[in-house]
């Protein structure tokens, strides 16, 4: 299937946003909106993107609803149910129905929003969840979140070896609920992203997308390198592009020859302590081994 997104779908996101320059989350949302079109209602929990709807004006053409931090999928349940009733009564034409899109960062998705997401998946709610994952609470100054990777520095984790814990495997947690569709994406691979959103758009039921969102402000790199950092995340194997459907996980892009993870890490200030003042070969080795171990279990 060939889809010309530029001409076929009016972008549901206008120009001019208040996100930081080079925001990888914004890139992913923009590309997603291009596929989804205008007939959307975003249900949002507090995060970087909350500012999009309010200050000083919104780039969204679609609608927007705020919920409490833990509750965006619950809010989406209410919206979907109400839209369904209006459709049944004939008050909304099927053509005018809205895609209900939950939009949250990793803080909500990986943390306190999990319970509400689990409930929505349990009820087979017809919605699309887009999580922009910048691996920390970016909007409040990049404190640690459950998505923060091993060894990274954050505003609340400044030890010599960075975060002791590891990034939570949200993909596996969500997959365990057997949703209709689940995928990881990154804006640096726009065709892969667009195909997945297109696929999700055609389906009904819970559809979940985790977009790794390179964050110049929180990760510490020049905004002009957002796309490069995103490509490195994939090419080093740190961010596997994959999807889950009908009980199967399929990798949609397998790097022919993975680059060393160091090439991704050394370009970000949050990992600078692994290189300066002394190179920490132990932790760098752990991080490489973790990625190698993951890909050892992937069959092409």
């Amino acid at each position: 299937m060939v889809t010309k997104y530029h001409s076929a779908s009016p972008a549901s996101l206008g120009r001019g946003t208040v996100t930081c320059a080079g925001c990888g989350g914004m890139q992913a949302i923009r590309q997603t909106c291009r596929v989804l079109g205008e007939k959307t209602v975003f249900v949002n929990a507090a995060g970087c993107m909350s500012l999009l709807a309010v200050y000083p004006f919104t780039p969204f053409h679609g609608s927007w609803l705020y919920t409490a931090m833990a509750s965006a999928p619950a809010g989406a349940q209410g919206v979907r149910d109400a839209l369904d009733i209006l459709r049944d009564k004939g008050e909304i034409a099927p053509d005018n129905d809205l895609q209900v899109v939950v939009l949250t960062g990793d803080g909500s998705a990986y943390g306190m929003g999990l319970s509400a997401t689990s409930g929505a998946l349990d009820r087979q709610l017809d919605f699309l969840y887009l999580c922009y994952d910048n691996e920390g609470y970016g909007n409040t100054g990049q404190q640690t979140s459950a998505a923060t990777p091993h060894a990274a520095h954050t505003a609340t984790c400044r030890g010599l070896e960075g975060l002791a814990g590891v990034k939570k495997d949200l993909f596996a947690i969500w997959a365990a609920h057997d949703p209709v569709y689940l995928a990881t994406v990154i804006a640096s691979y726009p065709n892969d992203l667009a195909r997945k959103i297109e696929k999700a758009k055609q389906l009904r039921g819970p559809r979940l997308i985790i977009a790794l969102a390179p964050c110049p402000t929180g990760w510490g790199f020049d905004p002009r390198y957002t796309t490069t950092i995103g490509k490195l995340a994939v090419d080093t194997g740190i961010w596997p592009l994959k999807e889950y459907r009908d009980g199967q996980v399929v990798h949609t892009h397998i790097p022919a020859q993975r680059l060393p993870v160091e090439q991704y890490l050394k370009r970000q200030q949050r990992f600078a302590h692994l290189f300066e003042p002394q190179r920490n070969d132990v932790v760098l080795g752990e991080l490489q081994a973790e990625v190698d171990h993951y890909w050892d279990g992937v069959t092409p």
Partner: protein, 354 residues
């Protein structure tokens, strides 16, 4: 010479808490208080303490309940929406008589609101924000120094009465930098050993049940009466307020926290114009300085209340003085800017001359 620092209010409250012996902090990021967990995440491990960034405010308040139940000095901090999430846990702490310090660097609401300074959480703080009809100690600092001092006072009062204590600050007090003279903590003589606490195997054989569940006939009623008897003692012994030029005042301005700072300048300007105006600044919002306001009534003074909300504390002032007219001037949450001393002065002038 006393060391003098130039720090944020959020850092000062964290420093005071650590000085008071707090070794457990459980929190979650939210503007405008994230400097508190950031500071404590750096400093507490050096003292052998435990910093946990929880998965939610609900989790962090219940971690505080757990640490408190074991007799530890522990704290959490947040800002308005996060404090709302903590309310159930605070109610459990109040019901279980577990002490602990909760810092609310208040922002504007309702809902997600905004991140600017606000005093819109007064009702929630002083009336028992959760279910069940309880009170907590509520302290209202108006400076960086008081953020430090009240962290210490909050822990002491909370331990003394086994009632949770809250510092009700706001974005101005939390985010501004000014001079701080830290001082060493000296534990009050009257603090009792926490022999009620769960300490695992420390007292083998002794069963401790910390609970807020009472099912026996009359038990819960007796428990509630016991809690309210403690509040009555606090009302008698722990009221704190600052009075400025009250003796000859014809008009008494009342305000707390950041608003009181603006009011202080306004009454100085009013005095320069020859108006006899004083300030009554509640420091403890619960227990509320009712007697001080009753004295204003006896002295025939008019009262003018300033707040960064649409009128909350003014209701407690009116209750204290009953049939005396109390004027109010407030700025709704989210005004985006603070009132100026001149703005307050204009209100003082109009009430003074009325």
């Amino acid at each position: 010479m006393t060391k003098r620092l130039f720090v944020k209010g959020n850092e000062a409250v964290a420093m005071g808490a650590l000085e008071a012996g707090c070794r457990y902090y459980f929190g979650y990021p939210i503007t405008p208080q994230s400097d508190i967990p950031e500071y404590i995440s750096r400093e507490l491990p050096k003292l052998g303490g435990e910093f946990i960034q929880a998965e939610s405010e609900v989790a962090s308040i219940n971690m505080l309940l757990g640490a408190s139940a074991c007799g530890a000095r522990a704290m959490t901090s947040s800002s308005s929406p996060g404090i709302s999430l903590k309310q159930e846990g605070i109610s459990y702490m109040a019901g279980s008589e577990c002490p602990g310090l909760i810092v609310n660097v208040c922002r504007s609401g309702p809902g997600l609101g905004g991140i600017d300074a606000s005093q819109a959480d007064y009702f929630q703080s002083v009336k028992g924000g959760g279910h069940g009809g309880y009170h907590i100690i509520v302290l209202a600092p108006d400076s960086v120094q008081e953020m430090y001092d009240m962290a210490i006072l909050g822990f002491d009062l909370s331990d003394r009465y086994r009632v949770p204590a809250m510092i009700l600050a706001d974005a101005v007090i939390g985010q501004m930098k000014e001079g701080l003279e830290p001082h060493s903590y000296v534990a009050p003589d009257d603090l009792e050993t926490k022999d009620w606490a769960l300490i695992g195997d420390g007292k083998a054989g002794e069963q401790k049940i910390i609970k807020s569940l009472y099912l026996g006939d009359g038990e819960l009623e007796a428990h509630n009466n016991h809690l309210h008897a403690k509040y009555a003692v606090m009302q008698e012994k722990e009221v704190r307020y600052e009075g400025i030029e009250l003796d000859d005042a014809k008009l008494v301005v009342t305000a707390y926290g950041s608003t009181a700072r603006i009011a202080k300048t306004a009454i100085r300007l009013a005095r320069k114009e020859g108006m006899k105006v004083g300030l009554l600044r509640p420091i403890t919002l619960f227990p509320f300085p009712k007697a001080a306001f009753k004295q204003c009534k006896r002295d025939g003074q008019r009262i003018l209340c300033f707040e960064l909300n649409n009128g909350q504390m003014v209701e407690d002032v009116r209750l204290a003085v009953r049939d005396v007219e109390v004027d109010f001037y407030g700025r709704a949450p989210g005004a985006g800017s603070l009132p100026t001393p001149e703005e307050f002065l204009a209100k003082i002038r109009s009430r003074y001359e009325a």
